[in-house]
């Protein structure tokens, strides 16, 4: 049987502390939400990733210097007809990645709509990361990096351009979120009473609008892919 002793003898000084967070991916269909998750979790990329009809669930752990963060990732369907089901997944989430496709202006507009919806409806302390995916398709770019960065700064969002295909900035994205998440409670108590099961009723925190960002705007480390 392992003992607490091994916390110090066997692992990094505080590596024993695992913080668990629920993270949800939102964004228009075909912007690469599932691909980002697959790249992050399994290191794979499929050119013809099947469309998600439902909400996929995976877990992945990220090691920081002082702590360890375990993400419970809900990758949601992007199609508009499933929009009304999204609250099931962002409710109770501590982090959200809102993805758009840098070659698709409409997907960026949709991403902004998601930001507004989360600011209205989600947990007021939710950490939101705006992500411009398909950064490898720079020749077809229609959403300017500066435009998205400015929007993210204004709204107090993390911002990165990623490529699930090449893997650029994918780990950095999750790492940046892991760093920004508050790690105040011990792992044992965090999550208590929270819902992982989307089924369970979670209190809806309304009115806790965090628009304006509260000055916590920060770009993720590593810089975005600017080609």
């Amino acid at each position: 049987m392992a003992a607490v002793a091994r916390n110090t003898a066997g692992g990094p000084p505080s590596a024993g502390k695992i913080f668990q967070f629920k993270l949800v991916l939102l964004g228009e269909a075909a912007v690469g939400k599932s691909s980002l998750v697959l790249r992050f979790v399994k290191g794979h990329f499929h050119e013809y990733q099947e469309s998600t009809i439902g909400a996929a669930f995976l877990t992945q752990t990220v090691c920081l210097d002082e702590t360890t963060v375990k993400f419970e990732i809900w990758d949601t369907a992007g199609q508009e007809r499933y929009h009304s089901l999204a609250p099931m997944y962002y409710r109770g989430a501590q982090a959200a990645i809102i993805v758009y496709d840098i070659t698709n202006q409409e997907s960026f507009n949709k991403a902004k709509a998601w930001v507004r919806e989360l600011q209205r409806q989600a947990n007021p302390n939710i950490v939101i990361a705006l992500t411009g995916n398909k950064a490898d398709l720079v020749n077809k770019r229609t959403v300017e990096y500066e435009e998205a960065q400015a929007y993210a700064d204004e709204q107090g969002l993390l911002f990165l351009e990623t490529s699930a295909k090449s893997g650029v900035n994918v780990n950095e994205l999750f790492l940046a979120i892991a760093k920004k998440l508050p790690k105040t409670e011990p792992a044992g108590t965090r999550g208590q009473g929270q819902t992982v099961n989307v089924n369970a009723a979670a209190e809806e925190s309304k009115g806790g609008c965090c628009g304006g960002g509260g000055g916590s705007a920060s770009a993720a480390p590593g810089g975005a892919a600017r080609n």
């Binding site: 003898a9 979790v41 989307v198």
Partner: protein, 734 residues
């Protein structure tokens, strides 16, 4: 993950994950530790109750025998205090004296820090570490076990200190076993007892002696030299034949027979027996007892596989003479696991990845064969069934469940029935889920008005895993059922065009003029539908009125199955009379029509007024005037039919007074708020209230059956001529 009581809570999951990580890290320790050798100085001395001597230095014992500076000093004493008061007094002066003296001696060597001291009566164990290494000593704990008088007193037994130095877990036990040559078995028993009973429970997860990488025992174990007389022993010692003498050592004998210290090692004994001397001398015991010299005082160790422990010195300090025992020294080079932080971090990340991979592999998985069901076109009381196949293709059993969406209380629309809604699937198992769509009286009005549609998205949740979205879509084909009386009465054309085959035949037979697509109505016969009564209702009333003479027990029994559907199609096409199916089915259809109305025959807003008017004919008439026209005219026509039927019922043996009540219940439907209030009442109260309401409803109808209105419609008694307006175009609603 859901709180269904079967799966562990998140907290438990996280805790067990942390433990799992620790366990894996421990297993892979080799990958991130370097073995670095450290000097350990162990010593034991039975001081026979003496205070430290003012003149006798401890240096020959503790510092002189090694040129190196040990990282650790581990010193055990026995018989510190022979005073009986030592049994009860927590702190003994003797203990402090010895500790001070010891520390004074160590200070000459280097700066040491006391890691821990533990005392039990006369036994004391102290662990010191070089100050500069103190930061690497963690999770220190101490424990003691008494095995003396009564089997638990502290005159005999052991004291232990465990600690972690870098990545190695070490345990030191200083013991004093039972005395006397013949008590070998008692000594063995003392050892077993201490092993069993010593628990370091100050730790979050208590540890026992055996749970350590390196275990070292030191002390007065009291094993003697046996089978030789004292002169023989002295002879061997004087000839320096210690190796021959060791053959007669009880401890070595017992160990070779695996009766004690199983798996332990001891260095080769090259020092004279340490017991028993005349105090102050190096002479063997000259007392009356004249003890046989023995190696009572020993140091043994045991290391787990792969651990590096090398004894450098095993000896005694003959120069110390204040006790009848000589102190014993053991110096060891111990390979300690020193963690390489950067390598450790890599392994840690690796372990987490591995656990993630396993965890993701064991997330419940399933496949479904379809996530988009086209229900086609369907109408009132038409059943459509689709089958969804759920297959468990994952590594673990699956519990799946259809769950409610945000802002809805049910997991599916009212017109849908899912069987099973929740189920368990073993690995490789398949479940066929039946999706039954059926529009009945509860849902028809909403679908007819367009307030609802035949669309739904189901969320199929795998417990602890993903969700599937399953879309259902169909077109509702309107039927006269569910259409409000007013609307239906105002409709110039049939809800639906009759199937072409029927249309042609029947239309020609009605009327010899050729049918033209633009025709909206046919010439009307004398039996035309009275104003404000829907054609479809009039058709049913006429049919029932005409057949009532032949079927006296109308409304008293149901018709054969499926006939209502045929009647529905006939009505929706406004096809000529007679209606298909038996009279019973037509009666059923009429009641079903009333039951499906969004606003019942007696409008909800007039419900209470009607109930209150029941006893009074003029009040009844008065409230009837308030009915919307279609409701009023239909009601009157229905009364005409009922009056005729009632005559038959009265004569019929199977007649049931309940029939009128059933009809009254459909016509005077309980408003929603009232039905909610009723369901909130107790069983008895509910029954009483229902009876009272039922009496009032029946009374209201009875008034109209007994009395007669001047302008009641006349329902023809025969079906011979076409009574309906037949059209060829369907009507759509919005």
């Amino acid at each position: 993950m859901s709180a269904n009581g079967v799966l562990p809570s998140r907290v438990e999951q996280l805790k067990s994950r942390e433990l799992l990580v620790e366990e894996r890290m421990h297993l892979r320790q080799k990958e991130y530790v370097n073995i670095q050798s450290f000097h350990f100085f162990l010593a034991t001395w039975n001081v026979n109750g003496q205070s430290p001597s003012a003149t006798e230095s401890l240096e020959p014992w503790l510092t002189a025998c090694t040129p190196e500076t040990p990282t650790f000093y581990v010193i055990g004493f026995q018989e510190l205090d022979l005073d009986k008061r030592a049994y009860v007094i927590e702190t003994s002066l003797r203990e402090q004296e010895w500790q001070r003296t010891l520390e004074a001696a160590l200070r000459k060597k280097a700066a040491y820090k006391l890691v821990r001291v533990i005392r039990l009566v006369g036994m004391m164990l102290l662990v010191y570490v070089l100050e500069k290494h103190a930061g690497h000593v963690k999770n220190v704990a101490a424990a003691h076990v008494g095995t003396g008088i009564m089997g638990w007193m502290g005159n005999k037994g052991g004291v232990g200190i465990r600690l972690e130095f870098h990545g190695s877990e070490l345990c030191f036990v200083s013991a004093h076993f039972a005395a006397h040559t013949e008590e070998v078995e008692r000594r063995n028993e003392d050892f077993r007892n201490i092993c069993e009973r010593m628990v370091f429970n100050q730790l979050q997860f208590p540890k026992r002696i055996k749970d350590h990488d390196i275990i070292m025992w030191l002390g007065d174990f009291n094993y003697r030299i046996f089978q030789l007389s004292r002169p023989e022993v002295q002879q061997l010692i004087s000839e320096d034949r210690l190796a021959d003498l060791v053959l007669y050592d009880q401890l070595q004998r017992e160990m070779s027979q695996q009766k004690v210290f199983h798996g332990f090692r001891e260095g080769r004994i090259r020092f004279r027996p340490t017991y028993k001397y005349d105090v102050g001398t190096d002479r063997w015991d000259s007392s009356e007892k004249s003890r046989v010299p023995s190696w009572c005082d020993r140091i043994l160790w045991k290391a787990k596989d792969g651990e590096e422990v090398r004894q450098v010195v095993y000896g005694s300090a003959m120069e110390l003479r204040l006790s009848d025992h000589k102190p014993v020294i053991g110096i060891f080079d111990v390979g300690v696991k020193v963690v390489d932080k950067s390598r450790q971090k890599k392994v840690y990340e690796n372990v987490l990845k591995e656990i993630d991979r396993e965890e993701n592999l064991f997330i419940p998985q399933a496949t479904i064969d379809c996530n988009d069901f086209d229900l086609g076109e369907l109408t009132f009381v038409q059943q459509v069934t689709r089958t969804l196949t759920v297959a468990n293709n994952g590594q673990v059993p699956v519990v799946f469940e259809f769950i409610a969406k945000p802002h809805s209380t049910s997991y599916c629309q009212e017109w849908l029935k899912i069987t099973p809604q929740r189920s368990f699937l073993s690995q490789g198992d398949v479940c066929y889920v039946e999706l039954q769509v059926y529009v009945d009286k509860r849902t028809v009005a909403g679908l007819t008005s367009g307030a609802t549609t035949l669309d739904d998205i189901l969320v199929l949740h795998l417990d602890g895993g993903k969700d599937f979205f399953i879309t259902l879509h169909g077109q509702y084909r309107p039927s006269c059922f569910g259409i409000p009386l007013e609307t239906l009465a105002a409709m110039p054309t049939a809800v639906r065009a009759p199937p072409p085959a029927i249309t042609e035949q029947t239309l020609i037979s009605f009327d010899n003029s050729p049918t033209t697509p633009s025709t909206t109505s046919l010439p009307v016969d004398p039996h035309r539908t009275p104003a404000h009564i829907p054609v479809e209702v009039w058709m049913m009333l006429r049919h029932l009125y005409a057949v009532s003479s032949d079927i006296p027990d109308l409304f008293l029994q149901p018709g054969p199955p499926d006939e209502v559907e045929k009647i529905r199609d006939h009505l929706d096409g406004r096809l000529p009379l007679p209606l298909p199916g038996s009279g019973h089915s037509v009666a059923e259809a009429l009641l079903l029509y009333f039951d499906s109305l969004p606003d019942p025959l007696v409008p909800y807003r007039l419900y209470h007024e009607c109930l209150d008017a029941g006893a009074n004919w003029s009040a009844c008439r008065f409230v009837l005037e308030k009915f919307p026209k279609a409701h009023r005219e239909t009601f009157k026509a229905f009364i005409v039919l009922l009056r005729k039927l009632q005559r038959h019922w009265d004569q019929h043996p199977s007649s049931d007074v309940g029939t009128l009540e059933v009809i009254a219940d459909l016509v005077l439907k309980l408003p929603v708020e009232l039905s909610k209030a009723l369901s909130g009442m107790g069983q008895v109260g509910k029954g009483v209230a229902r009876q009272a309401i039922s009496r009032k409803k029946t009374a209201f109808l009875q008034q109209f059956l007994i009395n007669r209105l001047d302008d009641e419609p006349i329902i023809p008694a025969e079906l011979t001529s076409p009574a309906t307006v037949v059209t060829t175009f369907p009507v759509t609603f919005d």
